[in-house]
Symmetry: none
Subunit: 414 residues, 2 copies
């Protein structure tokens, strides 16, 4: 069974945005064992949309359309599929009701344009949209499967993984596909893949694919086999080989990134952490509160961008700032101590340095001190990160989380 993805949107053809939806769906299908041989992109034009649907349905078993389900005149994907299949459009009552409630709660009128978002094709199964208003559709027609998915990535991703993929999978040959992710820190992607070169090159089942993301390196291991037990055994063996080479750098497995793994360690140990952020400007706090249940381990943080703020909110002494400057090991340690005291938390973490683009107090962009205060001691680490302001801030938060993780893991081990 093979699938073809059609991304819809004139903004794609104008080069205004990257087509990350096609990448996401491709990867999901690949992991599910469904081949993608072709992808197409088309603009918001009904005739041309029909043309690409025609082409796709001639060469692929599954045709997945993403984008063009919204309320505007430009949103024509439903109409194109209706016209291609000859099936009429009809309102899905549940989706329509959701629209009514939404508009009523905001005191706005539900216009005809907006009602379009509840339309589906006759005979299609509706795919709920948990993140938005436009419903999706799953249609089987003349031996082919068609999917209509919204364009906004958040809406598309949830709908695809929650509702569309299970439908595509049902009836597939029983091949078990399992995949695991190993997460690494303090090792670059090139060094990691170099160390595992032989394994990556010669491994066909399970496969090893490096995953790149902001300040993280991960490997996805994917195995296909007749039974769950065999698969797990094969994955286990491969993992042992990987750990033998680079096990020291692995901080976790699965979907949990370093912030969740660290939060989990704090929860297990019933400890809390607070933050004092200059360089990272609130990004560490934002990261720690991005998942639910944060209040148990993160009472709060202070963003102290100015020196006055450092003095007033954290009790840093003017003398320290004069003698050592705000970008210093001494200041980082005093900030970590300060927030630990203010929030009565078990740990305190701090970030001070030059985010760029200009140097700060003689430090180049990317140079920084990260302070960690624990019940026993307060230390600081000098870190140097390259790249843009945003990259420096993002990687700084990751680096702080790695340091905290090591601290907590040592506790656990001891």
């Amino acid at each position: 069974m093979n699938a073809e993805i059609i991304a819809v949107g004139t903004e794609l053809l104008l080069g205004q945005i990257d087509d990350t939806n096609a990448t996401f769906i491709s990867r999901q299908l690949s992991e599910a064992g469904i081949n993608v041989y072709f992808r197409q992109t088309a603009g918001d034009n009904e005739e041309r949309l029909k043309n690409v649907i025609q082409t796709a349905s001639e060469r692929s078993d599954i045709v997945i359309l993403t984008g063009g389900l919204g309320p505007t005149r430009d949103d024509l994907t439903r109409d194109a599929l209706a016209s291609f299949t000859g099936l009429p459009l009809k309102a899905d009552e549940e989706s329509l009701e959701k629209l009514k409630v939404f508009f009523e709660s905001r005191g706005r009128e539900l216009t005809e344009f907006n009602k379009k978002q509840a339309l589906t094709l006759e005979g299609a199964d509706v795919l709920p949209n948990d993140e938005g208003l436009a419903c999706g559709s799953f249609l089987e027609h003349q031996g082919k499967k068609f999917l209509l998915l919204p364009g906004p990535p958040r809406e598309m991703r949830t709908m695809f993984t929650q509702y569309a993929l299970p439908k595509l999978r049902s009836g597939m040959e029983e091949q078990q596909i399992q995949s695991e992710v190993l997460r690494f820190y303090e090792i670059g992607e090139s060094l990691l893949t170099e160390k595992l070169d032989d394994l990556i090159e010669n491994q066909t089942n399970p496969t090893i694919a490096p995953l790149a993301s902001e300040g993280e390196v991960a490997l996805r291991l994917t195995v296909r086999g007749p039974s769950k037990e065999t698969n797990e055994e094969m994955l286990y063996e491969l993992k042992q080989k990987i750990f033998a080479e680079v096990g020291d750098y692995c901080y976790g497995e699965g979907d949990s990134q370093i912030e969740q793994v660290t939060a989990e360690l704090l929860r297990e140990q019933e400890k809390s952490i607070s933050a004092a952020e200059s360089l990272t400007g609130g990004m560490f706090a934002d990261t720690m509160t991005s998942f639910s249940g944060a209040s148990m381990i993160f009472p709060g943080g202070i963003v102290c961008y100015s020196n006055e703020a450092k003095i007033q909110t954290l009790g840093i002494s003017e003398k320290l700032l004069e003698e050592h400057g705000a970008v210093s090991a001494e200041c980082a340690e005093a900030m970590a101590d300060g927030c630990r005291r203010v929030f009565s938390s078990d740990y305190g973490i701090s970030f001070t340095g030059a985010a760029g683009p200009d140097p700060l107090e003689g430090y180049e962009p990317g140079q920084m001190f990260i302070g960690i205060a624990t019940p026993e001691k307060t230390v600081s680490h000098f870190v140097n990160i390259g790249g843009s302001r945003n990259r420096i801030r993002t990687y700084a938060v990751k680096q702080g989380l790695y340091l905290l993780f090591q601290e907590l893991r040592n506790k656990k081990g001891g």
Copy 2:
């Protein structure tokens, strides 16, 4: 004249990398006044590559292939085009010489596989590769134009802009293209496009395209004409028509999003703002410090996730929390007042509410109070945002920025 882009590479279809090449070429063509109506992606398979070239050449005047020109067995794009057109492949002497010199200088043998990189089609113009070894080709065949470009983005970009685009442009009418972006707040995409329905529908030059992004609505106006002056006049006229309908909702033009526009107003008025964040957990502070120069207008913020933190760091009274709860207009206002006092800033902003997934103090996820303290008064706004935890937090920050923007704009006007 219209072009179709074909990105070649199995790694694309496996979702291992985003197809940034297609985005780059799309934008370059759009700016050159060449329409892109379709794009395709195919893997490293000669038969399927012939299939996509066939499809493309039936519906497009220019077919641009990128990727698959390298030295490995998997690099089959040249072979596919040769097979499709029936033209033989032949070595380009200059490219071959370059390969010989390259391998000699490294003391390595030039293998037959590597020689492939110097192949072009009979009758095609060779496009030099200033950044790598595989040469490109430009072919006119049976009224269609074909381009072969390498896949590595750096090689492709240089070859495309330096050598390919001039060939496509030669013989084209000289047309100027200009584009502007208008940014809106407190108006959904559907309401905006509804109000401008007639304009969007009947406008062909300039065109009006809605751009969707997280919690923002924008319109891109693009004009094509013989001279810059005429273009600017046409854009001006269109903008007047748009402002007449929805001018009240427009907060800015160009690349600056609401955070930059608000920061600019603060800078102009020489005012500062601090933040007290519960619901948004540092995301507002992070947004305000994401660009350089933030320290002038944003001394700092407090993330007060727990009630104890609200009491200790902002001086909120226990009585207030007991009587009204942490999710209340009263608490939002006290938080805004509190941070304004702690950081000695001109303005203070606060966020308190339920981020989800669970309700908080009887409030559903997405329900929140945003407090604004100014030198004259302190107010709060009840806001209700739908969606996931991350969406609620992201939109809350935008909403806070809109409220602050209005406050500052009124000051400016008065």
